[in-house]
């Protein structure tokens, strides 16, 4: 393996509790990262399944449930050691939380699906671990769920709630899961607000938890906030399984029944999403055929970078 002549530029594994950043191997499991960060009173909130690696997350999804509060992976990965197709490893991005130095290769490469190389290490932005937690699952009719969802999203409470996720299930039922990490002692404040919103809509709090399917979604759909629920419904109605709508982000994570593969649906879905400036990703997203124009830009990058 060749490395950048300036080795000192590459990120080394570290955790900096003052700046709340850590560098870890791309294949580190999210569960291990959480454990490491928790030892410093910190957390990396973007987790779909702690048993999967960060690299697997980044390949399958660009948003996680906690993206409601913290944004997509591209806003929480600050830097990378990036292995070019030639085998050379270069540093891309930073270990500080803010940068506008040169072109943003970090965000461009992060979800580039292996076309220009692969990440070997990530530098992650961590967040304080509050010490308290509020988590609730609400059940009820669709109209009431919509009212609660809308009430939660339309005020600044949403800045402080990790996740507002609507689960659409094969049975046709749906539940709304609200979850946040908060300072110890603040749980009652969050619960009070949620109860007020829930009662006004006539929703019940359900005892069950763990509605989120294991593993990573087979298909992740990025669309607009208003369009997400409809897409989730269609995916589940036509293919079964479960869809999780990340309500604040306009994202649908679709988990099909075991062994099921959609055939014709995806083309229409892709067209609808792309028209709004969205996209599909994950194992079920068919390979995207780039236009001639895009191929020209990509080829220029590949040609330039392959000789480095």
């Amino acid at each position: 393996m060749k490395t950048d002549s300036d080795r000192s530029r590459l990120f080394q594994p570290f955790i900096d509790a003052t700046d709340m950043v850590m560098c870890c191997p791309a294949d580190a499991l999210l569960g291990d990262i959480q454990q490491e960060a928790a030892g410093h009173g910190l957390r990396f909130p973007l987790v779909c399944d702690p048993a999967w690696s960060l690299q697997a997350h980044v390949s399958a999804v660009d948003y996680a449930p906690a993206s409601s509060r913290f944004g997509p992976y591209v806003d929480n990965v600050l830097g990378m050691n990036w292995e070019l197709p030639s085998g050379r490893v270069v540093r891309v991005g930073e270990r500080v939380i803010k940068s506008t130095t040169g072109y943003d290769l970090l965000r461009f490469l992060l979800h580039s699906d292996g076309r220009y190389g692969r990440a070997r290490d990530y530098v992650l932005r961590l967040r304080p671990l509050g010490g308290g937690r509020m988590s609730a699952t609400l059940g009820g009719d669709e109209e009431s769920l919509d009212r609660v969802r809308s009430a939660l999203l339309s005020t600044s409470w949403i800045h402080w709630i990790d996740a507002v996720t609507l689960y659409v299930m094969q049975s046709g039922a749906a539940v709304l899961h609200v979850d946040t990490d908060c300072a110890a002692g603040e749980e009652a404040i969050f619960e009070g607000h949620l109860d007020a919103v829930r009662r006004e809509a006539g929703l019940t709090k359900e005892a069950r938890s763990g509605v989120h399917p294991d593993g990573l979604p087979a298909l992740s759909v990025k669309t607009t906030v208003p369009a997400a629920k409809g897409i989730a419904r269609r995916l589940v109605e036509e293919n079964g399984g479960t869809a999780a709508v990340l309500c604040m982000n306009g994202v649908v994570h679709y988990f099909p029944p075991a062994g099921r593969r959609p055939v014709s649906f995806e083309g229409r879905l892709a067209e609808q999403c792309e028209a709004d400036g969205g996209h599909l990703m994950g194992p079920w997203a068919e390979p995207f055929r780039a236009s001639a124009h895009e191929m020209m830009w990509s080829t220029t990058l590949e040609t330039t970078w392959k000789n480095l």
């Binding site: 950048d4 700046d19 506008t100 072109y103 969205g278």
Partner: protein, 484 residues
């Protein structure tokens, strides 16, 4: 790196070296913009020869002011075909030498593309033309209880096109992030005349395989000409508390910054004024009664009233336990304005007390704040250049302002040397050259030191894909980007 290599184009103070546009090209530009204007007289061009770095002058050969997006697109296509270098300019408030004609040619001024086309409260996005002034968008959103957080201090004048080009930040970036975190889509006209839309209201890749908008945000006008944006909006905070604390020394101020940074209340802003900045304010008619010799920390928490009210006492306790000699705070808009006043007037005062000033921009790991401030003081004092610091401490985003007289060559060179010293130290500490101003031509010479040769080659590959001859905003970001 030699001092003389720090500027990569020879500034032109007079019209002597200016090459007027060929008459036929000028005529065609005029015809292309039936509702626009073409400026060519020396007096008109003077207003476009500098950006926020007022002492470096690059007079353009002409300035085109398209009257609308269609005219902008037509002018860009014409200039592209005619092989004339050109630079897109919004309000010209950049602080890095970004929106100036460093290699001559035409400045294309986007001030008339100022339509806010849509504010979609259901989809939580806005569609705006590239010349919309940030402050105008902010006013329109406030009426709908919506919020677009990036807030550079030039907000009353700067355009969203400039903000996206520089990936601008501002006071509230610590929690809310910078411009790039809010760009869902960009529409741009490329040098080949094609109009492209990367992303859109959904904020994804759209019809593209790769997420090209990521490269365009922060590209400093070197890849394409922005015509419109889709911007993400969020609910406006219901309640805001502002705190102002004074500290006797940098160590106690720094301790407060570190603790605030890790506090679950996640302050929206963490700002610091150093004693030299405090002295500047207190010696002026804008004095607010701050204790001289103190470091002044400003921080804000916001959110739903019920939640924020519960956090006020813990923030006050934190500030005091770190060693504050005085803590004031309020959620009353008028009183909050008073707490912010010293911070807000500092920039204007620098312009009043010094013929010239250069505000630098770099980001360091927060743990090194005290060390780097010490280095800045030592180097500036040794050079006899007054320096004041007022900056985004939560982000580790330094903004030392060097006050000097650019008519005195020794002072000008000393300021270049101080900038060089700062950037060298920032790189050593694992920081970065710019947090929110961009590189422009002011810091292009440091890019290779920062990126290394391979990193720089990767970056130049991007320019090569979209603007291989560097016709668009030449000599910016990388000194090699000279239009030939």
């Amino acid at each position: 790196m030699g001092i003389h290599s720090l500027t990569n184009a020879e500034p032109r103070r007079t019209a002597c070296g200016r090459k007027p546009l060929p008459a036929d090209v000028a005529l065609r530009i005029v015809i292309t913009m039936p509702t626009g204007r073409l400026l060519t007289s020396e007096a008109q061009l003077t207003g476009y020869e500098a950006d926020g770095i007022s002492f470096k002058h690059f007079r353009p050969d002409a300035v085109a002011i398209p009257g609308n997006a269609a005219e902008l697109i037509a002018v860009v296509r014409l200039l592209s075909r005619e092989a004339i270098p050109f630079t897109i300019r919004g309000a010209g408030t950049s602080l890095s030498g970004g929106a100036v004609a460093a290699q001559g040619g035409v400045v294309v001024h986007t001030s008339r593309l100022r339509k806010i086309e849509e504010i979609n409260s259901l989809g939580m996005y806005a569609v705006v033309e590239s010349g919309v002034v940030l402050g105008h968008l902010e006013k329109s959103l406030a009426a709908q209880n919506l919020y677009y957080p990036p807030d550079p201090s030039s907000g009353a004048a700067c355009t969203l096109g400039g903000n996206v080009a520089a990936n601008a930040g501002g006071v509230h970036c610590f929690r809310y992030g910078v411009t790039g975190n809010y760009v869902l889509g960009v529409e741009a006209v490329l040098l080949d005349g094609q109009i492209v839309r990367f992303g859109g209201p959904a904020g994804g890749r759209g019809k593209w395989r790769d997420d090209w908008k990521r490269l365009f945000v922060g590209s400093e006008g070197t890849l394409g000409t922005f015509t419109r944006f889709w911007l993400r909006l969020i609910p406006r905070p219901e309640c805001v508390w502002t705190f102002r604390a004074t500290y006797p020394d940098v160590d106690s101020a720094s301790a407060a910054i570190q603790r605030l940074g890790c506090h679950p209340a996640a302050p929206a802003a963490i700002e610091l004024m150093d004693p030299r900045c405090v002295a500047m304010v207190e010696n002026s008619p804008m004095a607010v009664g701050l204790p001289r010799g103190s470091f002044v920390l400003l921080t804000e928490i916001d959110g739903p009233a019920a939640l924020v009210a519960n956090r006020v006492s813990s923030i006050e306790t934190l500030l005091r336990e770190a060693g504050a000699s005085e803590v004031s705070y309020s959620d009353h808009p008028g009183k909050r304005g008073e707490l912010w006043r010293a911070r807000k007037v500092a920039g204007g005062l620098m312009g009043q007390i010094s013929p010239d000033w250069l505000v630098q921009d770099a980001v360091i790991p927060r743990a090194h704040l005290a060390t780097v401030l010490g280095t800045i003081y030592a180097q500036a004092d040794a050079a006899g250049i007054p320096v004041v610091n007022v900056f985004h401490a939560g982000d580790g985003n330094l903004h030392p302002s060097f006050l000097f007289d650019s008519r005195i060559p020794a002072q000008r060179e000393a300021v270049e040397q101080l900038s060089h010293g700062l950037m060298t130290r920032v790189i050593e500490l694992g920081g970065t050259l710019s947090g929110e101003h961009g590189i422009g031509n002011d810091k292009a010479a440091y890019m290779e030191t920062f990126l290394g040769s391979v990193g720089k080659a990767m970056q130049l590959g991007v320019a090569h894909a979209f603007n291989p001859r560097h016709q668009l905003n030449p000599l910016k970001v990388f000194p090699e980007r000279r239009f030939a």
